[in-house]
Amino acid sequence: MSVWRTGERLWAATMVAPLAILGTGAVLVYLLARLITRRNEVLAATTALLLVAALLATLPWAQTAARGELLTWPAVGVPTLRAEPGAALLAITALVLGLGVALYSGAYLALDQRPDRYYPLLLLMLTGLLGMVSAADLFTLYLLTVLTNASAYVLVAFRRSTETAIEAGFKYAITGSLGSVMMLAGVGYCWRATGTLTLPLTALASDGWHLLGLALITFGLLIKAAVFPAHAWLPDAHGRAPSSVSALLSGILVPTQLYALVRLLLGLAAPRAALGGLLVGLACCSMLTGNVLALRQSYGKRLLGYSTVAQVGYMAAAMGLGMAYEQPALLAAGLLLLVAHGLLKGVAFLAKGMLHLYCNATTLDDLDGLGRLAPFASGHLAAVLVGLAGVPPLAGFVAKFSVLWGLAGAGSGLAYAVGAFYLVNSLVSLGYYLPLIGRLARGTAVQSATAAQDDTSSSRPSLWMRAPVAGLTLLAVLLGVCPGPVWRLAEQTAAYLLAWGS
């Protein structure tokens, strides 16, 4: 008996190890900064090491997933966590992206005064994110969503000396808090109606309060996932946050909240066709809104923000159809799209940040001719933009093909119509990706960029920035060429989630 107990605890320990490393790491980095050194590079390297440790500690999650075993942290009360295939997939993506961002910040934050706040917040955000995907009960889900989002609000407004940062952070915090409050109220109503918060929430909706609770949680998460019509906050927040933060927010945080929503909905004892249909409807609006508004942007990062709205729409459409027609292939394709988009959008923001730092480029006009001036950043930005448009060998292509492949198997007119709409949208998105690349490739650079280039002592960007940008791009290519391992994990996730509620 005691041997069994020890073994169980050991498993449980491996389960929470990544969260523990990140959580205590946040405190450690803060103490390191306050007590020993505030050197940005040291803090960035420490954070990166902690993320590598957490990444190694997360690998057993994927192993568990492969064996189909589930680990639950002490099965008494709250909080509870559970290693699932999906948790492994999203956690690994988030940590890889986080690692890239931490290293990138080693140079990107060189001129900022408060690295002692930045890195702990980054770690806390990732802690919450890991908890969000592995939460085994509703209250844990709520708590960790709030932890992630609260860290994100502060990070968005991190450069508080600029007016726009405070405004963007404030807007983001208001909208996000609205989502959080709705979630909290929903959790309360669900508790009141059923007396249990364990996920999946399989109890049949018994009364109006229960329904209201579920609806509130759903809408709360929809707001956080920036699904139409609650998408308007995203371009503001992601367009004005430091680029390194935008990379994480757009690349993984927003899609993760979509995943959390899909996971929750799949656990409900409600007709999946209706829930999936609702999600697909909103998703189509998201695609269209994101793509059409992105055409009209004049600031590079806002454009990338609207592109995220559209891409989240693609994911939501794939996952919603997968839900409605019980198609594991579509659900898996949505997850592959999520991972691919995470890497690509992450690199896009990081490369854009390099252009901002070295060439002072904020508006699209500033990007004219930067290809000659800053070939590394421009080249990577151009590469991931065509990747986002779904051109191989980057990962966007295999994701797009998987989505279409899954749609072909859904066997319903609605699915085909959504597929056609998706294709049209993906063509429309060329309307803003291509001109951006065209600007980078143009012959002459504007004056301010040349001046900024002269100011910067070395024209070659720092290795702290080049390594993560090149590394993440390489990963996106690898995923595009050999999607096999990630695809298998996505398939397991889909199979697991579809069997979840029953």
């Binding site: 492949w405 294709l423 298998r488």
Partner: protein
């Protein structure tokens, strides 16, 4: 067991060599930049030798190879196949690429960054080769996009003209729209037939049929039709050809257009079955005729000599589609033969046009004339190319055009077959206009002529020699192509 291993090694290397060479190009600096063109040429020749080895080691069977089955998914494979249908196209691609690279060696606009230019050209070549050899639907899409990216980058960086960015964008969007249709159709096939291998899909369809066969056929026709520049999907072609540097134009017109036709032949009658094509035969014949006539009329109406030749491609691709849509072995042989002939002739025509533009500095037909005296050899080459494209016997295109038109008469749509005989008359008209104006009209004032680099002149001479040689050998050539082609009109390839 050594032979299959050798075959797959050769196929893999044939595709890897240009990639490695492209990467090597990018490392060249300083004096080593002189090596950019020789390195690229060597890579293409090496790739050709490897393909020859792969073909010969397969002893007349299809040379097939597949790698790393577990790493790529969901369900698709990394597989290449060099068979009788692909071989004529591969040979044509190699010939045209060597000519284009040689021609461009001292071509002025390339000057500043030859290493980047040749790296992209090699990538473009590799994309086309991959498109011809891909034995997997997803892989074909990948090759298609590599081809698009490389050629779009070449247009964007080395294009010349008023609106390079917009033209490149148009080219990209047209092709991408085609690719999306292909992608949707392939995803449908992969899901319905449970495999992305064309052979498996063909076997599945032959055995059990396919839901939505008509829609898939139309999507494939539209998708490949964009690349082939069939009217009304040709909107990208004239501008893209006009702005591209001449070696890129040669590759676009003489090799890339053929890939669209190759896709139609390989994947519609070859994979979906001849009955899929039969269902849309009449509209297809009409579209093909429209392309023949529209392309020729636009050639007649154009003032820019490069555009005149560019529009002629639209017309010639109409012939090819006509031959395919005739649904007979005669028509198919004629089409494949015509694609090869068209490749060589179009290369020669663009190369001579490039010489004229380079040596006179002008490209509007009204500003040119009297060149028979000033540039006799160039004009002789232009006349040869013009006569060849017009299908004048005994030059090579006569044999393929004759097969196509005869197949049209025999196709069961005699009216359309008879109308098709009108198109060659239009071809003769624009050829006469082009050659007559440039060579024989009185020379306009202040038309100076300067020397061309030796590589441009020599490669053009070789292209002209190739046209003559292929004319001499047109009988054996026709028999060779006919012997290579499996009979897709009777069943799966």
């Amino acid at each position: 067991m050594i032979t299959p291993a050798l075959t797959s090694l050769c196929l893999a290397l044939a595709l890897l060599v240009p990639l490695v060479a492209a990467a090597t190009e990018l490392t060249l600096r300083g004096r080593a930049l002189r090596l950019a063109a020789p390195l690229a040429l060597t890579a293409v020749l090496g790739s050709g030798l490897l393909l020859a080895q792969a073909w010969s080691s397969a002893y007349g069977q299809a040379a097939v190879a597949s790698y790393l089955p577990t790493l790529v998914g969901p369900g698709w494979r990394l597989a290449w196949r060099l068979d009788g249908l692909a071989l004529p196209f591969v040979v044509n691609l190699l010939l045209v690429t060597v000519l284009a690279f040689w021609y461009g060696q001292d071509y002025v606009p390339v000057g500043a960054q030859p290493h980047a230019y040749y790296a992209l050209m090699l990538l473009f070549f590799d994309g086309m080769l991959g498109g011809l050899l891909a034995d997997d639907l997803v892989l074909l899409l990948v090759a298609w996009e590599v081809m698009l990216l490389a050629s779009a980058a070449l247009l964007l960086r080395w294009g010349s003209g008023p609106d390079v960015a917009a033209t490149t964008g148009r080219y990209f969007v047209y092709t991408q729209a085609g690719s999306l249709l292909l992608m949707a159709a392939f995803a449908w096939l992969a899901n319905s037939c449970g495999s992305t291998s064309p052979q498996a899909v063909a076997a599945h369809i032959a055995l059990q049929g396919l839901p939505g066969l008509r829609a898939v056929t139309i999507a494939l026709l539209l998708g490949f039709g964009v690349k082939m520049a069939i009217v009304p999907l040709h909107g990208w072609l004239p501008d893209a050809h006009a702005i591209a540097p001449m070696p890129v134009t040669v590759l676009l017109a003489a090799a890339m257009l053929s890939l669209g036709a190759y896709g139609i032949i390989r994947f519609i009658p070859g994979m979906l079955g001849a009955q899929a094509l039969a269902a849309v035969q009449t509209p297809l014949l009409i579209v093909a005729l429209a392309s023949q006539v529209y392309g020729a009329l636009m050639s007649l109406a154009s003032r820019d000599i490069k555009r005149i030749v560019a529009y002629s491609s639209v017309s010639q691709m109409g012939y090819v589609l006509f031959g395919v849509a005739a649904l007979s072995m005669l028509g198919l042989t004629g089409s494949v033969l015509h694609l090869i002939n068209h490749g060589v002739i179009k290369a020669l025509l663009f190369m001579t046009i490039g010489l004229v533009i380079h040596r006179t500095g002008r490209r509007q037909i009204d500003a040119l004339g009297g060149l028979a005296a000033k540039l006799p050899w160039t004009m002789a080459a232009l006349a040869l190319g013009g006569a060849a494209i017009a299908g004048i016997p005994p030059l090579l295109a006569f044999h393929s055009e004759w097969r196509i038109l005869a197949a049209g008469l025999a196709s069961g749509r005699p009216l359309l077959g008879v109308v098709a005989f009108g198109a060659p008359l239009l071809t003769i008209a624009y050829v006469l206009l082009l050659v007559g104006r440039l060579a024989l009209r009185a020379a306009p004032e202040r038309l100076g002529v300067r020397l061309a680099p030796l590589s441009m002149a020599a490669s053009t001479a070789v292209a002209a020699g190739l046209v003559l040689l292929m004319s001499l050998l047109s009988g054996p050539l026709g028999r060779w192509v006919a012997s290579l082609l499996p009979n897709p009109m009777g069943g799966p390839l």
